[in-house]
């Protein structure tokens, strides 16, 4: 089923542009229908999955590493699969209407379908690498979707930001997953199968901790980036640049939940490890509270929804940290239903009225009754009002926190405060636009278009209305009669998160309301206080202005600061370390060589015995060395090219003398010949060059002197250390011995060149030949430049 669904989505993605061209008006319905059938197929699997039978399939990919194309549909995967296959088609229907006539609509639908395939693959993948591949694909397709409106710089920026945060987090995730796979393998090769990882006992062994500790941090960094946890949350509100269908699908029910999904997926293996639990609890709680506070101060429809989404993701992470599998599963489902619904309604409102701000809207219920029904149901569920499924979700969350013992109390307080803010946000975004004084239609709105004003806002046609109505209705049915679909979904998901079946407990709104508990009381109190806060929201915003200004929840300033910092570092690196000139580059390379070799030699180094080295030296040796040293020092001080060349020639001659003194007359002769030739050629070249005009200043000279001296000292030190090691037999005796009997030659040097090392000589000839041809080509180029200026 999973494979079939993936294949259908990919085929549809390929076909979408053609369908759009062939049937522009009905394309949305044509593309959406097969996916709704897939959703039905997944729903049909629900009883079996709830009973504990999971469909799985696997094809080997890279057997050496145990990487396979493996799919598995358990409760958690099924919940997400159903969400993708229901919210997805609604988005396609919505886009077919709201973007009708857009020249790139076909490509948009195609990208949307690609995203759905990636998201579905992500949740059904039973292989870490496959999972990661789909993970990055969701990031990339979402980049294309957010940046769909590519004419606008804001959209492009938001798209890139989202991709960088989620994709960059993905790289941390990859490192973390690899560490986990290797830790679970305990020396027998990495375990890439997700099931294998979850069943591995090795992860909890103390010996695995050096791998598992960093793995937890890295995996959670990836999850937090994807699921917009503070301080990586900022990309999500910015991503509201995306068209409504994208926000409803990606930014409420699926993509941003991928982080939550992965944390839930790994919970059986890592849950209970203090680091894992505490990171989830800490980041979850801070995100939940902070984002809810930010939401309470906003009035732009989509931003309110975005911040409350961030807040909900925080609550979900927190619940996973508590190990409250059932509460997490219930809230996951509830949130997907009401937030998807509200995003569609917000989109419809903005499309119909061209107003983005909730405060400017009121009394629309009469003009758009169906939208109003959906939005109000969604908002009530979000506020946690009886008898919608949002109530059940919140109730279970509070119960789990109350059961958590002493440290549960701060969590309960935070959750209740969050609930108050959420009620305010829900009423503002979902209820206020529809009640109160009817809108004055003749009021010219700055954002409205002339031709639309005549028609006025009204309920859209069914393709845009179907999504919010179905989702809102599902929220109501789930709350009243969870047995229909919500209960098996939640129970099987919770079983996946906990790693084993969870005990039965009431799930319906009624069952949770009666008999009342402390959680019920808190929930009702939050509802009441939230409504009070809504009434006083003007005063609340004014009162909290200072906090908001001081807090980092404002626009993504730190993102810019971080980028600026990165750029500044880059500039620093570029100016400090890139040798802008040839000499600068040589300097840098020499310093590095001296540093690295010097360090290694110093650490373990040879300590040359100077006394032993000095033994047996004569006055003549001293004189030769003196010539060498003096010419080396004089070379840079002469001040003219010819002079420098002459002095260096002197150094060469002294070197030849050294060879002569130590019994290598042939080498000495070669050196004299080469040195003479070099002096002659260099003089010829120097005669053609312009006179040296600027000579570096004193500081530069001292610096260069230091570099040159340290390099010389290093080389000298190494040479001295080598000199002491003569345990190796010289090879020359052997050569002389074998020269006549084996090669029939009396000149040993010749024999070595053309016989013993003939292949190397051949190579040298090639290299020299290549160099000669190269010089010819260069000269040819120069001549040609002269000919055709």
């Amino acid at each position: 089923m999973a494979l079939l669904a993936l294949a259908v989505l990919v085929v549809l993605a390929v076909a979408a542009p053609f369908v759009q061209r062939a049937a522009p008006r009905r394309a949305g319905a044509i593309l959406a229908a097969p996916i709704l059938l897939l959703a039905a197929g997944f729903l049909a699997e629900l009883p079996a999955v709830a009973g504990g039978t999971f469909a799985s399939s696997s094809w080997p990919w890279i057997p050496d590493l145990g990487i396979a194309f493996a799919l598995r549909v358990d409760g958690l995967a099924l919940l997400f699969a159903i969400l993708v296959c229901t919210v997805g088609p609604f988005s396609i229907l919505h886009a077919g209407e709201s973007l009708a006539g857009h020249p790139r609509l076909g490509r948009f639908q195609s990208t949307l379908l690609c995203f759905m395939a990636a998201m579905l693959g992500l949740v059904v993948a039973d292989d870490l690498i496959l999972l990661f591949a789909f993970w990055e694909l969701t990031s990339f397709t979402s980049f294309l979707l957010i940046g769909f409106d590519r004419e606008r710089a804001d959209a492009r920026r938001a798209a890139l930001q989202a991709l960088l945060v989620t994709g960059g987090g993905g790289l941390a995730l990859l490192a973390g997953l690899l560490l986990l796979a290797i830790a679970a393998g305990t020396g027998s090769g990495p375990v890439f199968s997700v099931q294998g990882l979850l069943e591995s006992e090795a992860l909890r062994e103390p010996a695995a901790w050096p791998l598992v500790g960093p793995a937890i941090v890295l995996v959670l960094a990836g999850c937090f980036a994807k699921s917009a946890m503070v301080p990586l949350h900022f990309w999500l509100p910015n991503a509201m640049e995306a068209p409504t269908p994208v926000s409803a699908l990606l930014h409420s029910s699926t993509m941003v939940k991928a982080g939550v999904y992965l944390a839930a997926r790994l919970s059986p293996a890592l849950g209970g490890i203090a680091l894992w639990d505490n990171l989830l609890l800490g980041f979850g709680a801070v995100t939940m509270l902070g984002a809810a506070f930010a939401a309470s101060r906003h009035s732009q429809l989509k931003k309110i929804l975005a911040y409350t989404t961030v807040s909900s993701l925080g609550l979900l992470m927190l619940l996973l940290g508590l190990g409250a599998a059932k509460a997490a599963a219930a809230y996951l489902l509830a949130h997907a239903l009401f937030k998807g619904c509200l995003f569609y309604c917000a989109g419809i409102l903005t499309e119909e009225t061209h107003v983005k701000y909730a405060e400017k809207l009121s009394g629309l219920a009469r003009l758009m009754p169906m939208t109003a029904v959906a939005a109000i149901l969604g908002a009530l569920s979000m506020a946690g009002a009886f008898p919608l499924f949002g109530f059940s979700g919140k109730e279970l969350a509070l119960k789990a926190e109350l059961a958590a013992g002493s440290f549960g109390l701060p969590l309960v307080i935070a959750t209740v405060v969050t609930a108050i803010f959420t009620v305010l946000a829900a009423v503002l975004a979902g209820i206020k636009p529809f009640v109160g004084a009817p809108p004055r239609l003749d009021e010219p709105s700055a954002e409205s278009h002339a031709d639309d004003r005549a028609a006025g806002p009204r309920d859209p046609a069914w393709p845009r209305l179907l999504g919010p109505l179905v989702l809102a209705g599902a929220g109501l049915v789930a709350g009243l009669a969870p047995g229909l679909f919500a209960k098996p979904m939640v129970m099987s998901t919770a079983a996946s998160i906990a790693g084993s079946a969870v005990p039965e407990s009431p799930l319906s709104a009624l069952g949770l309301l009666w008999p009342p508990t402390l959680a019920t009381a808190l929930s009702i109190a939050a509802l009441v206080l939230g409504i009070v806060l809504f009434a006083l929201r003007g005063a609340w915003r004014r009162a909290t202005d200072p906090i908001a200004a001081a807090s980092a929840f404002g626009p993504d300033r730190r993102w810019n600061a971080a980028l600026d910092g990165l750029m500044a570092t880059g500039r620093l690196v570029a100016t400090l370390l890139r040798g802008p000139t040839l000499t600068g580059a040589v300097r840098g390379a020499l310093i590095a060589i001296v540093a690295i070799i010097g360090l290694a030699a110093w650490r373990a180094g040879p300590r040359p015995d100077l006394k032993e080295a000095a033994e047996g030296t004569t006055l003549l040796d001293g004189a030769v060395v003196a010539v060498l040293v003096i010419s080396a020092i004089a070379a840079p001080m002469v001040g003219s090219r010819m002079g420098t060349i002459a002095v260096l020639g002197g150094a060469g001659a002294a070197l030849a003398a050294v060879f002569l003194l130590y019994g290598a007359p042939d080498l000495s002769m070669t050196t004299i010949a080469v040195e003479t030739l070099v002096v002659v050629i260099a003089s010829l070249v120097a005669a053609q060059l312009p006179r040296i005009k600027t000579i570096s200043g004193a500081a530069a000279r001292i610096r260069d002197l230091g570099i040159a001296a340290s390099f010389g000292l290093l080389v000298g030190w190494l040479a001295l250390s080598v000199a002491g090691r003569s345990e190796l037999k010289p090879v020359s005796d052997e050569h002389v011995l074998r020269s006549v009997p084996e090669a029939y030659g009396r000149n040993v040097v010749n024999v070595i060149l053309v016989d013993f090392r003939a292949l190397d000589t051949l190579g040298e000839i090639f290299v020299l030949g290549a160099a000669a041809v190269g010089v010819t080509a260069m000269l040819g180029t120069a001549r040609r430049r002269g000919a055709t200026p």
Binding site: L171, M567, R578, A592, V731
Partner: protein
């Protein structure tokens, strides 16, 4: 002059002859390439325009012929007889080099002699063999590739040295003649002088290694060093010599601290030559490092702790490990942070190619098994994706000049959707986005690194990958999303279609090769194992539970 006591120590002269014969037959593909170089020189000087235009065809044909010959001559028995350190290294590596070489040749078609050929065609100038450089250019191209291939079959230090020089020398000239501009000449001079410094450095290192081992033959060096390590630790001479050699060879792979030339030289050369520089010398350096590190090996080393006790540890000798660690971390970070700032696409790719060397060093540190396999696999992936990215730059021009700045790519998708898609695919692969080829390269490197205990380096590499995403994504975002600037409107494809063919085939390879990861890695596994016997051990060691 160089000496080899070992050859002499072998009393059996016939045995030595057999070794030489085996080595000569092994390099038959290289001989084909040399023949191709000669043919290219002659064709390039021909009076007939058609024959001159056939020069690159001769190059591609000789590369393909060499590729087909490699599996025929490189049999396990012959490799064994030739006494190579990694007997089968040359087989898959040389085949891959020929394939990427052919791609690089396609990229450079239409590069040299464009103006002068136009002048000949219009009759403004009479044909003059001294004024065309096509023959030289393609001959150097093949000579350099020959050098790279010879590195993979090197069995002693002199061969290795000569092969490395044969790889580099032609490239100095290629940079200078690649385009008629002062910047190209300046780049060539810089490249040459720093290259000479690097050559001196690793030659000095080779000399010290010889002093430490008493032999030039890599397999014997391995045995001597193993004996030294077992008898109380590797001599300091060997360690220092190795580090010096590594530093010198680091120049070829553009690794820090020898990376200084890369940005200027890559920018100064014409795009096709830059693509060449970013792969051929780099691959030669990587293979050379692999062989050099192979002589000391990745096990049996020890350190003496404070109490004087000898503690054996896994992996390379500590000093070498630290040096490589620092080089890897610096290379990755400098390359990526440097690339961030660039507004020139070419310069950005130049800096980023520095970073890729850093990633590959992780595999070198990790050693036999996954580590070295991943280096080979990454080299292949890098060669394909980097060449594809440069091929797109080489396939476009503005008013007859090659395009350089990122702004030139804005809105490319509207006019050349295929090229824009190829650019997005190449850049995505360079970032390491799954399921593209580059991802698998990184995956193997990271797994190898973690298994070798180099978690720190792998995390640094991940952070660097994230940084690289920031600038590589500009290569995705600008062509796909941005509206074209007036400057970008003037960008048109070059008259020659072949660079674009290379770009598209590279993009296709990036998409399709991931299906062949398993066989490719198996080939790499065969290549890096020291002997066929070790091969089996590696297979068993790295073998994961059967799926």
């Amino acid at each position: 002059m160089s000496v080899a006591p070992v050859l002499l120590a072998q009393a059996d002269a016939a045995g030595a002859a057999a070794v030489t014969l085996a080595r000569l037959i092994l390099v038959v593909p290289e001989m084909v390439l040399l023949t191709g170089a000669v043919v290219a020189t002659i064709l390039g000087l021909s009076r007939s325009r058609a024959l001159r235009d056939a020069t690159p065809a001769a190059v591609v044909i000789s590369l393909l012929a060499a590729m087909l010959l490699v599996p025929l001559v490189h049999t396990p028995e012959r490799a064994e007889a030739a006494g190579l350190l990694m007997p089968m290294l040359g087989k898959p590596v040389r085949m891959a080099i020929c394939a990427i070489g052919a791609m690089l040749c396609l990229v450079s078609i239409g590069l040299v002699d464009r103006r002068i050929e136009a002048a000949f065609a219009s009759g403004r100038a009479a044909f003059d063999p001294i004024r065309v450089i096509r023959g030289e250019y393609y001959a150097f191209f093949l000579l350099s590739v020959t050098g790279l291939m010879l590195v993979s079959t090197a069995n002693d230090l002199i061969w290795l040295f000569l092969a490395l020089e044969l790889t580099s020398l032609p490239t100095y000239i290629m940079v200078a003649i690649s385009r008629p501009s002062r910047r190209a000449l300046e780049a060539a001079v810089k490249y040459f002088f720093l290259g000479a410094l690097a050559t001196a450095t690793f030659l000095y290192g080779f000399a010290m290694l010889y002093g430490a081992a008493g032999t030039l033959i890599l397999t014997e060096m391995r045995d001597v060093f193993a004996a030294q390590a077992a008898a109380g630790g590797l001599g300091i001479l060997a360690v220092l010599g190795l580090i010096l050699a590594i530093l010198g060879v680091a120049y070829k792979i553009a690794a820090a601290p020898m990376h200084f030339y890369a940005a200027d030289v890559y920018e100064g050369a014409a795009s096709p030559v830059t693509a060449f520089l970013a792969f051929v010398p780099k691959a030669a350096g990587m293979l050379a490092l692999m062989l050099l590190l192979g002589t000391v090996g990745w096990h049996g080393h020890s350190v003496v702790d404070d109490s004087g006790a000898r503690i054996f540890h896994d992996g390379l000798p500590r000093a070498v490990l630290y040096a490589l660690w620092i080089i890897a971390a610096m290379t990755m970070t400098l390359g990526n942070v440097g690339a961030l700032l660039q507004s020139s696409a070419k310069r950005m790719l130049a800096y980023s190619s520095i970073a890729h060397s850093g990633y590959m060093i992780i595999g070198l540190i990790a050693g036999p098994g996954l580590g070295l396999n991943s280096v080979l696999f990454y080299l292949l992936a890098y060669g394909v994706m980097n060449t594809a990215a440069f091929a797109i730059l080489a396939g476009l021009e503005r008013q007859g000049e090659e395009i350089e700045s990122l702004a030139d790519l804005a809105g490319l998708a509207r006019r050349h959707p295929l090229l824009a898609a190829a650019m997005a695919i190449s850049a995505g692969s360079l970032i390491g986005l799954p399921p593209l080829l580059g991802f698998w390269g990184k995956l193997y490197l990271f797994i190898g690194g973690i298994q070798a205990g180099q978690i720190g380096l792998v995390i640094i590499a991940c952070i660097n990958s994230a940084i690289s995403a920031w600038y590589y994504l500009r290569l995705v975002g600008l062509p796909l999303l941005s509206p074209p600037t007036p400057q970008a409107e003037a960008v048109v494809p070059t008259p020659s279609i072949w660079p674009r063919v290379a770009a598209l085939s590279g993009a296709a390879a990036i998409l399709l090769l991931p299906l062949l990861v398993q066989p490719l890695v198996e080939a790499a596994q065969g290549a890096t194992s020291a002997t066929p016997a070790d091969f089996a051990v590696v297979l068993r060691g790295a073998g994961a539970p059967a799926p």
